[in-house]
């Protein structure tokens, strides 16, 4: 049926990805920046044959919604209140449509509509539990339990999560220990590394006479650790190569710098510290504080503070090595400045790592 269109109105022809072609009032269609540009640059859209092809994400039904939005908002005479009321009603759609609409509006570069729909989707995420969000958006629950816990460490206070953290950490440690026993060469490599660091440190300290005793302490520590690893009945280690290499290093430094604690005492500290800390692998301050004896904590803090200061220049390279050793590691906050109050972070690196 031929319809005579009034002269004043001009129309633009649009073609959606699913093949349907329709004509739309010019002022409504031109409200979309993408269509606006297409018309200006390519001069298409004037007839059915050269309809403007819309991006793939825009299907017929969604185009209808978008045009409704444009039709309302392109009229300059609307008050802000009217627009707001329209918007609130407009986004009362099911989640699927809302997502498709966001996607389509984005491809047409219709920013106000993208913002509107994003806000609606944001409301569906804010304050909801993960299960609720998965339900709303049909997300697959495909992370392993362990993976789920990782990013959450320190982000929530849920004690059950902390407990699970510990259990999985312990499991992981056991696995790693078994691996370690097979990879002795890797350990050797580690020894080489830290020896050079140690050298640097003792050089910095200027305590030449102590270096020998320090090394003795260190090797003693290492042997002890190896034994413990083999036993693996009580997990006194915090279980990975770096842990091993770092602890002795710091204990070595303890031996160097602090007059009061003798090397044996410091290694004792080391051990007891590691005993206390091994079950806990998360960085939750609340937890760690609870378990540590305050005097010991002071001691450790002081020593670590010393160490941190000295390690300033060497640390970045060291960190590279550690990170490149592969396993998925949780990020460790670095203290490059080595100021006093950062000691806690460095402390954690040395005494209890995942």
């Amino acid at each position: 049926m031929a319809v005579v269109k009034p002269e004043m109105k001009s129309y633009i022809w649009l073609q959606t990805a699913d093949g349907s072609i329709q004509q739309v009032e010019e002022e409504v269609a031109m409200f979309c920046p993408m269509i606006f540009r297409e018309v200006l640059q390519t001069e298409m859209g004037s007839s059915k044959n050269n309809a403007i092809s819309l991006p793939q994400r825009v299907n017929r039904a969604i185009l209808g919604l978008i045009l409704d939005y444009c039709r309302f908002h392109q009229l300059p005479g609307r008050s802000n209140k009217e627009r707001k009321i329209f918007d609130e009603k407009f986004i009362r759609l099911d989640t699927k449509k809302l997502c498709e609409l966001t996607s389509a509006a984005d491809s047409l570069q219709l920013r106000p509509l993208v913002d509107l729909t994003s806000r609606a989707l944001a409301r569906m995420i804010e304050g909801k539990t993960p299960e609720e969000i998965r339900e709303t958006f049909h997300l697959p629950d495909d992370l392993t339990e362990e993976e789920k816990l990782e990013p959450l460490r320190n982000m929530t206070d849920d004690p059950r999560i902390r407990l699970l953290n510990r259990l999985y950490a312990r499991k992981r440690k056991e696995l790693k220990e078994r691996e370690k026993l097979k990879n002795v060469e890797v350990e050797e490599e580690q020894h080489v590394d830290e020896r050079s660091v140690d050298d640097l440190l003792s050089f910095i300290n200027g305590a030449n006479e102590d270096s020998k005793s320090a090394r003795a302490t260190k090797s003693k520590k290492k042997n002890r650790r190896k034994e413990q690893a083999r036993n693996s009945s009580i997990n006194n280690e915090t279980g990975n190569h770096n842990q091993e290499s770092n602890c002795p290093t710091s204990s070595c430094l303890n031996g160097d710098t602090s007059d009061v604690p003798s090397p044996s005492k410091s290694s004792e500290l080391q051990d007891s510290a590691s005993v206390k800390f091994s079950p806990k692998l998360d960085f939750d301050d609340g937890d760690i504080e609870d378990e540590l004896d305050p005097a010991m904590k002071e001691e450790i803090d002081r020593e670590v503070e010393d160490f941190a200061r000295r390690l300033n220049s060497v640390w970045p390279e060291r960190m590279q090595e550690i990170l490149s050793l592969g396993q998925e590691r949780r990020p460790v906050p670095l203290s490059v400045n080595g100021n006093g109050s950062l000691k806690r972070y460095t402390g954690r690196v040395f005494f209890y790592k995942s």
Binding site: A122, R134, N337
Partner: protein
């Protein structure tokens, strides 16, 4: 089972949309999306806006635990983050220790930071590290309770458009240099500075907001100013300075702002402008000035009154005027009402003035004369709203009657007397 309805609705949307959505969600919830599914694990890590405020705080009675957890959270987020960070906002009453803050700022300075808002602690001032001054892409900087010491090799924030400093300690010369070394600066807010003598040179400045104890403000090279809002507090020091200063403050402040559209003055602003103001010549006309709001104008001080009159007469396109009278009244009974008769030409009209709003009106002779003056010279006036101060009770009816009898140049003018405080 209908596979269509089970299909993941949202994870495959383009990352830009996901970020748009996650930005609209509190940061804590955004980070929690990392456990939704495999695809969502790191979707949050590329958002370009990080806002840390009260919802990020853990619930606890122990202040140090809250503070500690907040510091951890921020450090973790920054460390896990991937890609540029365009906006970083930290808005909390718990002050992180200086090394933490320094490190964060150093980190951010390497991440193309554009908007930085730091408002921490309630009583402590933090010292801004030098890395703050080397954020080349900074467009928006808001600092509260901070000590700023620009290093000698600081060349300015070349992209900065918006600067807001509140209760900031900075050497007086440095603040002027800071302002003038930001060539693109469009909006400047300075709050609670003490006894500052300030010369502002900012060729692109459009909005100026000053609040505090200022001894002297000069606007040189601010020809694009569109909106000015000033609240000037008084101390004995400043009062003394006022008495001794020479030169016309009106010219120094408003002499170079021909594009001004909106002027707001609080507390001692009109008093400040009145110093050195010579009656008579009006060299500058404010063709674009449409809104004037002046608070605490003393209608007993002739000089302040002259400032007000000078302003409105120099603004031929003035549309809306709001004046609040100062509540400090003296007991003098001598009022020289001659100026209303002699000094203002009869052909002075406010041809665009539509709305006048007088508040804290106490029926002083000059106030009444002022209203009569406005009513008689505003041919398109629509509303004259007068709200009396709460201290005046007995003269109200008489004043109302007087006001209603004044000749109105505009046939449409309505005079409203509003009793409740506005």
């Amino acid at each position: 089972m209908d596979t269509d309805s089970d299909k993941d609705l949202i994870s495959d949307l383009p990352q830009s949309i996901i970020e748009t959505i996650l930005i609209k969600v509190p940061l804590l919830d955004a980070v929690r999306t990392s456990i939704l599914s495999r695809k969502w694990r790191y979707k949050w890590a590329t958002i370009t806006q990080l806002v840390f405020n009260d919802p990020c705080l853990t619930l606890s009675h122990d202040k140090s635990i809250i503070s500690c957890n907040l510091v951890n959270f921020i450090t973790r987020c920054l460390f896990l983050h991937d890609g540029p960070i365009h906006k970083f906002e930290l808005d909390t009453s718990y002050s992180p220790t200086s090394p933490d803050l320094d490190q964060w700022l150093l980190f951010l300075s390497r991440k193309d930071i554009k908007e930085l808002i730091i408002d921490i602690g309630e009583d402590d001032w933090f010292r801004a590290p030098s890395c703050l001054f080397f954020c080349p892409k900074l467009t928006h900087l808001v600092l509260v309770r901070c000590e700023l010491n620009p290093p000698p090799n600081f060349k300015g924030f070349l992209s900065l458009k918006h600067l807001s400093l509140q209760q900031v300690i900075i050497p007086p010369h440095d603040i002027e240099v800071l302002i003038s070394s930001c060539p693109l600066l469009e909006s400047l807010t300075l709050s609670y500075f003490d006894s500052l003598e300030l010369t502002i040179r900012a060729p692109n400045l459009k909005y100026l907001n000053l609040e505090g104890e200022f001894k002297d403000i000069r606007l040189e090279d601010t020809s694009h100013l569109v909106g000015i809002s000033v609240a000037m507090y008084m101390t004995d020091d400043i009062a003394e300075h006022f008495e001794q200063s020479s030169g016309c403050n009106f010219d120094k402040f408003l002499g170079g702002v021909p594009c001004l559209e909106r002027l707001i003055g609080h507390i001692y602003f009109t008093k400040y402008l009145s110093i050195g103001n010579e009656q008579g010549s009006f060299p500058v006309m404010y063709q674009n000035l449409k809104f004037i709001e002046l608070y605490q104008v003393s209608f007993e001080d002739m000089k302040e009154l002259l400032v007000v009159l000078r302003l409105i007469v120099s603004s031929p396109n003035l549309e809306e005027l709001q004046i609040s009278s100062s509540s400090i009244t003296t007991t003098t009974d001598i009022y020289d009402l001659d100026i209303w008769e002699k000094d203002w030409p009869a052909d002075c009209t406010f041809s665009k003035l539509k709305i006048v709003h007088m508040t804290d009106f106490s029926g002083l002779p000059h106030e009444i004369a002022f209203i009569r003056f406005l009513l008689g010279h505003s041919p398109v006036l629509e509303q004259m709203i007068v709200a009396p101060t709460i201290y005046v009770t007995d003269k109200v009816v008489k004043m109302l009657i007087d006001l209603l009898t004044f000749r109105r140049a505009s046939p449409l003018a309505t005079v409203k007397f509003v009793q409740e405080p506005l």
